[in-house]
């Protein structure tokens, strides 16, 4: 085996705060090839016995992993599947031993053949699944080669919560972690605004993403310290580091508890300006998480989760049920529902030609216009639920007035139809637009003439304005919310809305980042919609600022020339305010 476990500290991007130590669980191993000892079979009976023992070790490991992570449909289900795969390949491996191969050769031969059969599938999704076979192969080989048994045994320590280590997680994989024994998440890839990050935050699992070199250094069961507040991972922490980790965990947790305790305090600046705090909803459970943290309503209700790729689109009743149950839980609070935002990173459920540049393609509102029936059904449900409470329609990816007018015409047609059918609805439901295409921000003075409200989507606004794919980890450094261009777009949009008396919300991740929260307050923003987990921190910061001070900071930032200068200025001026609070 290699050198004794050396401690190593790897930097990453802080996504969700907290400090945790736990054994690593490689969620998806990289498919590099395990070196095979090139020994011929000596005695077939011996080889078969070795295989039998290795299979038993693998079986035990898999069962332990499964019971630890639980659930047939959850993370544990993957290991259950591996167990079944193992049983289904064993006869073939025995056959290969009968034909004169050593156990290692037989294992590798049979599993490689199966994996390459899957990997060669033209179906990209299925090709990725070859990974499961590679995983089973490695597990058997580790068990066969003896020394590796412990490493292959998975996280030790019974039901100790594990640290999930992966290249990246899909949204459903991340969501499936809810309620499992997961201490923390560390990902090699991903950015602050990737979906896995958004979900980790909503589940409150300490998380660090963009950790370069993570997968190359970590084996199953390695102890890991994840600090999701400062954004680093320590592999094989020594005694001193473990103590430090524990101390930090206590400090962070105490801080979080004290934040939570303030959730029902009014969100007002020190000089008495009221600020509205709303929650972004990715999945239905976020609603309760938001309410528990004192959200006054929902500023961004994403509707893509209503659709499962490959299955039929939701019916009007299904839409209605989802919106209605959320509205009822909000008890009078507002519910801004964003219409379907498919395309780009959220694949269209209706298929369609592959686009060379999906972020600039038929996505969001353009997708809705291209699929009028799907849009119509959603609009009908929204018009109907709007008769029951404070529901607002939010249109994504509006580039100009034509988009808004076209959508309004469709809304009017749907309303006329409902009225004719005698169904209660609210034809004058407020219709707002996402300001996420730079064109919309630049022409916000024109858009506010006809939009009932604006919602600034900074994630896409930054991506499009700076021409930086927000999901490309190699560009993470260039995704700069503090870029002078972004500041100007925000300033102009907020000013235009203010002059026209049109309400503005901001629902990007930027609003929940302390330094930017202060900047945005100073630029004039009075409605923040952030992920539920971020609410307490934003509330506390807003409660410790005066609008005058925030304005001065924002004015100074607008004079600066680079994102770096702006960040530095914000750190100097805002961090002490936050730290003063964090220091109790």
């Amino acid at each position: 085996m290699g050198s004794p476990a050396a401690m190593a500290r790897l930097g990453g991007i802080a996504v969700c705060g907290g400090s945790r130590v736990g054994p690593a669980l490689l969620f998806e191993e990289s498919p590099d090839v395990v070196a095979l000892p090139d020994a011929p079979a000596q005695d077939l009976r011996v080889e078969k016995e070795r295989l039998r023992r290795a299979a038993q070790v693998a079986r035990d490991d898999l069962e332990r992993l499964q019971s630890q992570l639980g659930g047939e449909a959850g993370v544990g289900g993957i290991f259950r599947a591996h167990g079944l795969l193992l049983e289904s390949v064993l006869p073939g491996i025995e056959g290969a031993i009968d034909a004169g191969q050593a156990a290692e050769r037989a294992v590798a031969g049979v599993l490689h053949a199966a994996a390459s059969r899957l990997a060669s599938s033209a179906n990209r999704l299925m090709a990725q699944r070859a990974q499961d076979l590679v995983d089973v192969e490695r597990r058997l080989l580790r068990a066969l080669t003896g020394g590796g048994v412990q490493a292959g045994a998975g996280p030790a320590g019974g039901d100790r919560p594990v640290v999930i280590v992966a290249r990246d997680l899909t949204p459903s994989e991340t969501a499936a972690l809810e309620g499992r024994a997961v201490a923390a998440i560390a990902l090699e890839e991903g950015g602050v605004t990737s979906h896995s990050a958004v979900i980790a935050r909503s589940l409150g699992i300490p998380c660090v993403v963009g950790v370069a070199g993570l997968l190359a250094r970590v084996q199953h069961g390695d102890p890991l310290w994840v600090d999701g507040t400062q954004g680093f991972v320590v592999v094989h922490p020594d005694e001193a580091s473990r103590r430090e980790a524990l101390g930090l965990a206590e400090r962070y947790d105490r801080f979080e508890r004290s934040l939570l305790a303030e959730s029902q305090l009014p969100c007002e600046t020190l000089d008495g300006h009221k600020v509205t705090l709303l929650a972004n909803i990715e999945f239905p459970p976020d609603v309760d998480a938001g309410l528990a943290r004192g959200a006054e309503g929902v500023g961004l209700y994403r509707t893509e989760f209503l659709v499962r790729p490959g299955s039929p689109l939701p019916t009007e009743e299904q839409h209605l049920q989802a919106y209605r149950s959320t509205l009822q839980r909000l008890a009078g609070g507002r519910l801004s529902v964003r219409t379907f935002d498919f395309g780009s990173d959220k694949e269209s459920p209706l298929g369609g030609p592959r686009e060379p540049n999906p972020a600039l393609g038929v996505r969001s509102l353009r997708w809705c216009f291209a699929h009028p029936q799907a849009f119509h059904v959603q609009l009908r449900a929204l018009l109907r639920v709007a008769a029951e409470g404070d529901v607002r329609i939010l249109l994504p990816m509006v580039a100009g007035l034509e988009d808004l007018r076209q959508a309004r015409a469709l809304i009017a047609a749907a309303a006329a139809e409902l009225i004719e059918q005698g169904l209660p609805c609210r034809p004058d439901v407020p219709v707002g637009i996402m300001v996420e295409i730079p064109a919309a921000a630049v022409t916000s003075d024109l858009l506010v003439r006809e939009a009932d409200f604006l919602s600034i989507g900074t994630n896409d606004l930054i991506q499009y304005d700076l021409a930086v794919d927000r999901l490309n980890p190699r560009l993470a450094r260039l995704f700069q919310p503090s870029h002078p261009s972004i500041l100007r777009l925000l300033r102009d949009t907020l000013a235009a809305a203010d002059r026209a008396g049109v309400p503005v919300t901001l629902c990007g991740e930027m609003g929940g980042h302390a330094l930017h929260t202060a900047l945005l307050l100073g630029l004039g923003l009075r409605e923040f919609s952030v992920s539920p987990g971020t609410l307490p921190r934003v509330r506390r910061l807003l409660r410790s600022l005066t609008v005058d001070r925030a304005r001065r900071i924002a004015r100074e930032c607008l004079e600066l020339t680079t994102a770096e200068e702006v960040e530095a200025h914000l750190r100097r001026n805002v961090a002490p305010i936050e730290a003063g609070e964090a220091g109790r």
Binding site: E72, A73, G83, L85, R124, M126, D132, S172, S311
Partner: protein, 102 residues
């Protein structure tokens, strides 16, 4: 004289990631609880799905089911021959319909 019972049903794959290892394992586990012979045929694949329509596999073999490579949106035909054919088909179809609880 009637032979052993037969049953078949078409179902659509509705979960986000198609029939990968975990769903395949769930299908095979459930299939093994029945005495009937059970087969799954991939009858229709959405455009660009990449998998080969027409492939037929043993529903009790997890690896074979994985090889089907059924992507989201694909249609499967589940068929059973044996005394508990009806129940077996219903049980597997329910799993697929439920999106494998993903």
């Amino acid at each position: 004289m009637s032979g052993p019972a037969q049953a078949r049903r078409r179902v659509q794959v509705v979960n986000e990631k198609g029939v990968h290892a975990r769903p395949a394992a769930m299908l095979a586990t459930r299939a093994k609880r029945f005495a009937s012979q059970l087969a799954i045929t991939l009858v229709e694949v959405p455009d660009g799905g990449g998998a080969e329509a027409g492939t037929r596999v043993d529903a009790k073999d997890v690896l074979e089911i994985m090889f089907l490579g059924a992507p989201p949106g694909a249609w499967l035909e589940i068929e059973a021959h044996g005394d508990d054919a009806e129940a077996a088909v219903a049980a597997l179809a329910a799993l697929v319909d439920a999106g494998f609880e993903e």
